[in-house]
Each structure stands twice: as C-alpha cells, then as structure tokens.
Amino acid sequence: MKNLKKKSHFRINLKSKHLLGIMTMFCVSTIAATFASGVTTEPLKDAAGMIIVPFENSISRIGSWLTDIRDSFQEKQVLILENQSLKEEIDSLTTQNNKLLQDQTELERLKQLYKLDEEYSEYPKVAARIISKDPGNWYDTFTINRGSEDGIRVDNNVIAGKGLVGIVTSVGPHWATVRSIIDDSSNVVAMTVSTSDNCIVTGNLELIDEGKISFGQLYDQEDRVTIGERLVTSNISEKYLEGLFIGYVSEVELESNNLTKQGTLVTPVDFQHLKDVFVITVNKQDVRSVETEGSPDEE
C-alpha cells in the first residue's frame, strides 16, 4: 500500500516539461540511431503493419466498391458524350497506329543497337494495389497490398504499364512501401535512348503542378538530345533494371556550369490517379550476379 502511494506521488511529480525533455531525448536518439548507425526498425514496422494493413486493405476495397457504384449510376448523357469522343479518338488512334507501325521497324533496329532486348515482359512481375499514401504533402510514398510472402523484396522496381513508378523501400509480410520517382528525395540514373548519354532524374516538389520531374548532369555537347527524346533507366544504375521507360524530355537547357544540361521530363504514368502497379520481383543485383555466374570468361 505504501509502495503504491509512493508510486502515484512519483507520477505526479514528473512535470510535463520534464516528460517532454525525456521524450525529446528519446526521439533525438532514435533519429541519430537510424541516421548514423543504420539501426533497423523492421520488427516494429512488421508489428504495426500487422495491425494497420488489414484495415487499410478493407478501406481501399470499400473505396473501390463505392467508385464502382458511382460509375454505374453515371448519366446517359455523359455516356453518349463519352461515346462520341471515343469514336473521335478511334479515328485519331488509327492514324497514329499507322505511324507507329512505321516506327516499329525503327524500334527493332534501336533495340538491337542498344541491347534493350530485355523488355518488361521478360521480368517476373507481381500485380499490386495501392492501399494508402503517406500522410503529409511533402513526399510521394505509398503502400501496396503485396509483401514478402508474394516475393517482393527491398529495392524491387515498380512499374505501371507505361513506365517506371518507383522503388520498394521497405517490406512487411503482406505490404510494402514504395517511393515514387516524383518524390523529392528520389534519384534515378537514366540514359537517353538515341544517344545513350547518362543523366540523373530527380523528383522535384516544385514541379508538382506541371506533372513533371527534373533531370540534370546530361553531357551533350553536340545538342543531339531534343524535346521528345525518350529517357530510360541506365545500365550503370545501381538499383534500377536497365531499359525501364521513365519519360519524354520536355525542356532542355544548359546548366550554369556550361558543360552539362538540365531540364524537365514528362512521365507517361498518371501519379495522381495511380491505383494498380506491377512490382518486378527481380533486383538489379540478382541480374548482375546471374550474368557473371553464367559467363565467367567475360570478366
């Protein structure tokens, strides 16, 4: 009884500002620990994920169910208008398709030339659905509903049909966190398709409205890189598989060092309305090690 009384006294005596000091120390030390010595918080993440992710799954399922219902109640007028515009689109697409068929032969040649024969389709992929996004407005990371039990590992590349979306940064049993390439802290080594010049694609929050990302350090003395040039992930990239499509160049200008160029590019992926993504379950490191094992003479 006496002990209990003492305990309650102790609790009252701990002033809130002292408590704040203790907690501040705790937070600062965890920041320092994760920043400097790379202490991993994976077990904690797994535990939290086990509680949170099922809820997120069900919420996203309810959300898509509601959108389906809303879509089915769309007005007839809207559908008629849509039909009209779609017909127009078919016309334009037919002409475009003819043009693309002509480009096809050129593409074949380019593929051979730059050894981009490893198409996306050759990599094993896992389809996943985005179930939640990061709470703030500063970063662009999201959670998907597939995890290590589906074969996903850290550093797996994520694509969405048309182009590169991002990279897996942490994995739980049934969820994974993905950092998208438009995130302000993301950097990807890219190369131009026609000239194989390397550059670095950096996400930039200041370009968020235009739906663009910036690139820099492109060495191009002869001004061969023009607007519309395609950028793919480079062969020297450490974590991104070679030849994944990133986007089209939309602006190029000389950097202030007068040597390299910078600019912006447009991605074919609609990050605002992204719902389903594909995760490539092969890492660049695996591909490299298989290659070296397969042909040891080439070293």
Binding site: S16, L19, G63, P135, Y139, T177, L205
Partner: protein
C-alpha cells in the same frame, strides 16, 4: 485507463483516415493534416501531457510506415501537442475559434519544421514556392476540416474519456 484506450483508438482511426480517405478528398494534391488536428485538440482539451502523448504516438505511426528517420515526425507532432497544451488553462475548449487558431499556428510550424529539416538541408532553397504551393494551402484546408472534426473530438473527449481532467492535470496540483 479507458481514456487511454480511447485516445489510442482515436489515433489509429485518424491515421487510417489520413492515409486512405483524406487522399480521396484532396484538392490539388493537398491533403489536410488530420493527425495534427487531433494532437492540437487533445492538447487543448486535456492538457500538455495528453497532447504530448497523442502527438508522440501519431508521429510514431507515421514514422513506422513512411518515415525515413525514425522519430522525426514523433518529435514534431509531440511538440505541437505539448505547446497547444498551454492553451488548456487559458481558454475554454468549447469555443471553436481557439482550436482553429491553434491548428493554423501548429500547421505552419509543423510544415516549416519539415521544410527546414528535410528540404532546406538538402539545398532546396525555394521557400516561397513551397510556401505558396504546399504550406498555405495545407493550412487553409486543415483549418477548414478542423471546423468539423474538432466537434467530433470534443464529443469523443466528453463522452468516452474521463472528464476528471482538472484533478489529473498535474500543473494544477503543483503550482
């Protein structure tokens, strides 16, 4: 004990809503900051300690799932909750103007802290762009949402949590 459980449940629900539902109502890719409203209202209604714990745990959840530095958001949210707790003694919590003003101030400080510690240190100098594009829209949207959400938190506080806060408020005992 019951109020602690309720507080923790509220934090969980807010985190889930923040990550899923609030992205559906975002305007121009700006989502309101529901977690911050929670910390500020808990600080205002229940004092510094409660605001601090609410902030700490909501920040911890964000750190667990989306943080790069473990403990960073916990620290910022904790301070937001703690300092809004100073208003607990000085203002009535049934007046909607106080939580709105507190939310606005806390949101500005929160965003400035994120900018200064995670963007400025990486050499992103365009504060005015970030201010006009991210910070101010978020503040306005958050205050607007707080107009409705605060009433919910107020209801939760007075119906599901113990109302003996004047006694449990250690500031009163000590000073």
């Amino acid at each position: 004990m019951k109020s602690k459980l309720v507080l923790f449940g509220t934090i969980l629900v807010c985190f889930l809503l923040q990550c899923t539902l609030l992205h559906m109502i975002s305007i121009g890719s700006i989502t309101p900051n529901l977690m911050l409203i929670l910390c500020v209202s808990m600080g205002l209604m229940r004092g510094r300690k409660c605001g601090m714990w609410a902030g700490f745990f909501s920040g911890l959840l964000i750190d667990l799932f989306y943080g790069t530095l473990f403990g960073f958001y916990a620290l910022i949210y904790m301070y937001c909750g703690f300092f809004s707790g100073y208003a607990c003694r000085n203002y009535y919590d049934n007046d909607i103007k106080v939580p709105l003003a507190l939310t606005a101030i806390a949101d500005v400080l929160y965003n400035l802290a994120v900018y200064a510690l995670q963007f400025l240190l990486r050499g992103r100098l365009g504060l005015s762009t970030y201010l006009m594009r991210i910070i101010l829209p978020e503040v306005f949207y958050t205050v607007f949402i707080a107009l409705f959400v605060y009433r919910v938190f107020y209801y939760v506080n007075y119906h599901f949590m113990s109302t003996t806060r004047k006694e449990s408020e250690s500031i009163w005992v000590l000073k």
